[in-house]
């Protein structure tokens, strides 16, 4: 029916697309400008901010990559993100299984304790967390970020995965139990396979929030070779304040892979992020 209406009114459709293209430019232009500016010398950037670059000289990219130590930053971000997300996926799926399907003493209490994590923001606890990290001599180690990222994402992950398991028919689990399947085997053979869509959702928001986290990253890591992309980029931008071409190039190098991954997986990314916040 909608399609019929659209076919009947080609003029309206044309107006719609024109308006939307112009509107989308508002979202895309800053990124396009960023890429174009990384090809322009500082002089060009100042003289003609809106103009296209005169040459497509790629040499700034390796230079900026090296100056910003992007290889180190990317590896640090990758390790921190991969480990914190893996910890969340494994421990939250185990806990969700126990909370959703097993009757045990204290189940409500333990779930209630975890639920505090759904409500309180990071600002509520990072000050004493900083003392804790110092107390255990974890400053300037990767664990200083991995553990907090895992802890911060845990509550939402357990709740989301529990909701997934709650919606499964109970026969699925009880039939296996009748066949003599114990809890641990049930976790591997039934829970993990049926949880796959839920795990994908949890993975999306755990990965993105760890990859982009900034507040703890600037507090816990001072050593430049251990910084993650967000805090490392800030340091770089403070060091090369006026070398705009270098900074634009660094922004471009960081952004392009993310946009590429996003375009390939856009459906999963969008649904992962929206489900994570709607639940």
């Amino acid at each position: 029916m909608r399609d019929l209406l659209n076919i009947r009114n080609p003029r309206k459709t044309a107006i719609f697309h024109t308006v939307m293209v112009i509107y989308s430019l508002f979202y895309v232009t800053p990124l396009f400008w960023m890429i174009m500016s990384s090809f322009k010398s500082n002089g060009e950037i100042f003289q003609d901010p809106l103009g296209l670059p005169k040459t497509l000289d790629l040499s700034v990219f390796p230079k900026s990559f090296k100056a910003a130590m992007l290889d180190k930053l990317m590896i640090n971000s990758l390790i921190t993100t991969a480990l914190s997300s893996t910890i969340i996926l494994v421990s939250a799926s185990m806990a969700a299984f126990a909370f959703s399907r097993l009757n045990f003493k204290g189940s409500k209490f333990y779930l209630g304790v975890l639920t505090i994590g759904l409500i309180v923001p990071i600002q509520s606890y990072f000050i004493a967390q900083n003392q804790l990290v110092e107390l255990f001599h974890l400053k300037d180690t990767r664990i200083a970020l991995i553990l907090p990222y895992a802890g911060m994402g845990m509550a939402l992950a357990v709740w989301l995965l529990k909701a997934y398991l709650d919606s499964m028919p109970k026969e699925l689990f009880e039939a296996a139990r009748v066949d003599g399947c114990g809890d641990i085997r049930m976790y591997f053979n039934i829970v993990l396979p049926v949880l796959r869509p839920g795990l994908a959702t949890v993975a999306v928001f755990s990965v993105l929030s760890a990859w982009n986290e900034f507040l703890l990253a600037i507090i816990y890591i001072q050593r430049e070779d251990l910084k993650t992309i967000p805090s490392g980029l800030l340091t770089f931008s403070q060091k090369y304040v006026t070398d705009y071409q270098m900074l634009f190039a660094a922004l471009t190098i960081i952004t392009i892979p993310m946009i590429t991954v996003y375009i390939i997986f856009n459906r999963q990314v969008v649904s992962g992020l929206t489900e994570g916040s709607l639940k």
Partner: protein, 292 residues
């Protein structure tokens, strides 16, 4: 279901619970405790009773930071949530819209620091796009030191926030709108209702819970805002973009006032909880009416 052994449930919940209690719950209690002390990080914290709290209520910068964040929240409710809702309405009544949805969502997944550094350049008075366009249009007098002017700094940050998050709310509302049954919409269309009428009179009223969640996300997310403010303006000029989180970080890490910073943290927590509580009240009251 009965567990296969007494210990398996505890083994299953142990990793999640231990990590959470160690790295979130203990610090949460610790921060609450520190909020009643005076401490510069060295030696033992000194008990200070409610001193920090009375100081916070009289602290003009702290009060200003709440006013700023309130303005930020009100503006972002429009430029993020309302814009997202309208976009979802426009796009949901059309076909072949994937390319727009993909484009509008791109900023959502970029690190806020990247966004902040990029937009600092966009607002740059000398070579930023905004002033360049203003000059091209021959309206030189409207060119601004956007982030350095007390009149424009906060609104400029709100605008960036809208650039980032309107695509996010577009996606949330799209998911909500898809749940509105087609037959209701089609029967309204057969009765001759226009697209915009169907949207505002039927679809929007029917997705109340999605609207509420979006507003809650925008409000609680706004109260916690940090990255944009810290990187783009650092709270300046003259505290016009100071928000509770940037002030808290400064108190603790620059002024070494760990006790006072903790008090600010606890007050912020109380406000977030209060907003959540009010929100739950509203939801309870509205329960039972027709919605999707």
């Amino acid at each position: 279901m009965k567990p296969s052994s007494r210990w398996t449930p505890l083994i299953l919940i142990a990793p999640a619970l231990i990590i959470f209690v160690f790295i979130v719950l203990t610090p949460l209690i610790g921060t609450a405790g520190l909020s009643f002390t005076r401490w510069n990080g060295f030696g033992a914290p000194k008990f200070a009773g409610f001193d920090n709290y009375s100081r916070a209520f009289a602290d003009l910068v702290f009060i200003k930071s709440f006013k700023n964040v309130a303005i930020y929240i009100v503006v972002t409710l429009f430029v993020e949530v309302l814009v997202g809702l309208v976009l979802a309405g426009i796009l949901s009544s059309r076909v072949r819209t994937t390319v727009y949805r993909v484009a509008l969502f791109v900023p959502v997944m970029l690190p806020m620091v990247v966004v902040s550094v990029l937009w600092r350049f966009i607002y740059n008075p000398d070579f930023g796009i905004i002033n360049a366009v203003v000059r091209k249009l021959g309206a030189e007098e409207f060119s601004q030191v956007w982030l350095g002017d007390t009149k424009t700094a906060l609104l400029s940050i709100c605008f960036v926030s809208g650039w980032v998050y309107s695509g996010f709310y577009l996606a949330i509302f799209t998911a909500g709108l898809q749940r509105v049954p087609r037959d209701i919409i089609e029967s309204a269309q057969l009765d001759g209702a226009s697209d915009s009428k169907v949207f505002w009179k039927i679809k929007v009223p029917m997705i109340r819970s999605v609207r509420e969640v979006s507003a809650l996300l925008c409000i609680t997310g706004g109260i916690q805002g940090f990255d944009l403010f810290y990187v783009m303006t650092g709270g300046g000029p003259y505290y016009t973009t100071e928000v509770p989180t940037t002030y808290m970080v400064r108190s603790v890490f620059r002024d070494q006032e760990i006790g006072y910073g903790s008090t600010l943290a606890i007050l912020l927590t109380a406000i977030v909880l209060l907003v959540g509580l009010i929100f739950m009240r509203i939801r309870k009251k509205n329960e039972g009416s027709l919605e999707y």
